[in-house]
Point group: C2
DNA sequence: TCAAGTTATGGAAACGCTTCCACGAAAGAA
DNA sequence: TTCTTTCGTGGAAGCGTTTCCATAACTTGA
């Protein structure tokens, strides 16, 4: 049988209370008692039971990370590992563990999360990208648990315990639109992630609004869903390029999709940027090493993760009010967008 | 106060035992009693406490995933997300949760893992890549918890509860060596991951042994540690290429390192493959879309994750003996290796 | 010298469930 | 009819901690 606090107490000739005090570094323990207890613990190879401790005190130091398997933030996107890694670093410093959930089945996930909160299994949540028309935050807000959303979330939710860390996707896309126009592109397409996440919606809408404001007509058919993988984006790009010969530029809401476009262009013998320009988003490791190097927007993924985690722990540990934060991005002008005005 | 089983029992006019039976779908409960209890539960918004359940029965259904932050399997490598995602899928199907730990501080991690096992917090472990001279498995084997190692581990450990899923890194590298020789390369360098993981050691050793067997002299200085990021690999490649003008090919033990080599080549105005050939390993999304497309080895990362998880659950759930498994890889011949014999 | 603090410790209730054992009632077997 | 079984249920002892309260032995300070 595994040794318990009771056995330790007996062997050390003290009460369970005293053993507990020793484990928790309570000051009111005589040094000799403490060392006696400690030596018995060592001798018996005693390991405290976390479940029992959790049950009788304040639960576990875990934070729950929720992602959508089928999304641009999905596990096979470099974004995912980066951000999990960053959150994990901060968590480790705070001696917290990470629990990973996908919310592909939302109702199920809400129930699970509520149960974990109720059981004091988790102290905070990081939501990697919120779905549009998701009830998740609405429900979870009621529990009062600190939540950090990476990205935008339903603006009608106002809760002290929910905070977002984000980049300005809408504005960035708007500026990309202006840049493309400035380079002389007027027939612009877009390959985007499925529009059930705010991030994708904003990246698309920013570009559309820019074009509208500048009175550039565009065809809704040139804005197509490119799924979440290189292959789906490739198929989408192939379709788009075949059916729209006048297109001179495509905005990919994610460098993974840009990869799909590069692949399609190569297979159609289209040169980038001479025949078709490409603008990406995120700036992954490989982006600058494509041929031509991909013009894209650098998103500070690592910072996104670190700052989210920091805010979360600050909320957990001190009940301090935290505020949402917008991180700056930077356009990386490289070689995948042609300047049509100089031709 | 949160409703407990006791309150439910009182309101429903039954004993706690009966409520518990209802929750656990025990057959010996009269249908009318069951529905009475269920309706009270609903009415009170009762949520079972997982901690209490865990304490008095058989713990939690969690599996622990351990990775090394500073390694080729680190979070910012596409490998990481892929494999976590794959394991997660299988875990979800089995209604298990994932807990994520890094083992950068090994002693600390051993202690944590042992404590979790002791507290019945986890039922199995997936170790993403084992360190050479690590005590982790040695210690954990003693606990009898099922463990799957992705990659090779200390061959002196023999335990019923440890199983590995891997690709044959040594053999693959050996074959890469032969292929390069066949293409007329005799001055071959290597940029590898730090040699504290079996995977890196094997990938390097396979090539070295090939060269030795074929009586091709090589300079140890041409085998250099390229760290774990594109940047560190880039620096390593720069150094290597500057100081070894006769090198005609470099083997990168990871496509991320190949990226570093591409970058170095570009900055030194070296053409791939005309001036320097590159052979990678893993075959990531971007690898086939580089210019030239990277010749590399396709590692079935997704399968690695799925199969590992399946084996783990089979061990957990049925005490069935599982066996280690070697997954097949496939060389992707693309454009980054020149055939010197045809020049 | 004695009341009023301290201090180190023990006892036992709580945390919220599960589960073993017991028991009465109903049902089947002899 | 009587003796076993089976079934639905309740009682209460765990599971392994923490923590509140009590207590006894020492200080202090006037």
């Amino acid at each position: 049988m595994k040794p318990t606090i009771q056995l330790v107490a007996k062997k050390a000739g003290v009460s369970m209370s005293t053993v507990s005090r020793v484990m928790n570094n309570h000051p009111a323990v005589l040094p000799e008692t403490r060392s006696k207890v400690l030596s018995v613990m060592k001798e018996l190879d005693y390991i405290p039971n976390q479940l029992a401790r959790g049950l009788s005190s304040n639960g576990f130091n875990n934070i729950l990370i929720i992602f959508t398997r089928s999304s641009t933030q999905a596990a096979d996107n470099p974004y995912f590992g980066n951000i999990i890694g960053s959150i994990g670093m901060v968590a480790e410093q705070n001696d917290y563990d990470l629990i990973l959930h996908s919310n592909d089945n939302e109702d199920n996930e809400i129930e699970k999360a509520v149960s974990m909160i109720n059981s004091k299994l988790i102290k905070g949540i990081v939501l990697l990208s919120s779905r549009t028309n998701s009830k998740f935050l609405e429900v979870l807000a009621g529990t009062g648990i600190p939540i950090v959303v990476i990205g935008k979330y339903n603006p009608s939710i106002h809760s002290e315990c929910i905070v977002s860390v984000d980049t300005d996707n809408y504005q960035d896309s708007y500026e990309i639109g202006d840049y493309l126009l400035q380079m002389g592109h007027t027939h612009i397409g877009c390959i985007h992630a499925p529009l059930n996440h705010y991030v994708a919606v904003d990246r698309v809408q920013g570009l559309k609004d820019c074009l509208k404001t500048r009175h550039i007509a565009f065809d809704e058919d040139c804005f197509v869903d490119g799924g979440d993988t290189v292959d789906t984006a490739y198929m989408a790009a192939l379709n788009l390029l075949c059916s729209n010969r006048q297109l001179t530029a495509i905005f990919a809401t994610d460098d993974i999709k840009a990869l799909g476009i590069y692949k399609a262009a190569r297979n159609m013998n289209l040169r980038i940027p001479e025949d078709i320009s490409v603008f990406g988003h995120n700036d992954f490791d490989f982006s600058s090493l494509l041929t031509p190097p991909l013009t894209t927007i650098r998103v500070p993924i690592h910072e996104l993760g670190m700052i989210s985690a920091s805010k979360l722990f600050s909320m957990i540990q001190s009940d301090k009010k935290e505020t949402s934060q917008m991180l700056p991005t930077k356009i990386q002008f490289r070689g995948s967008v042609a300047n049509l005005k100089h031709q």
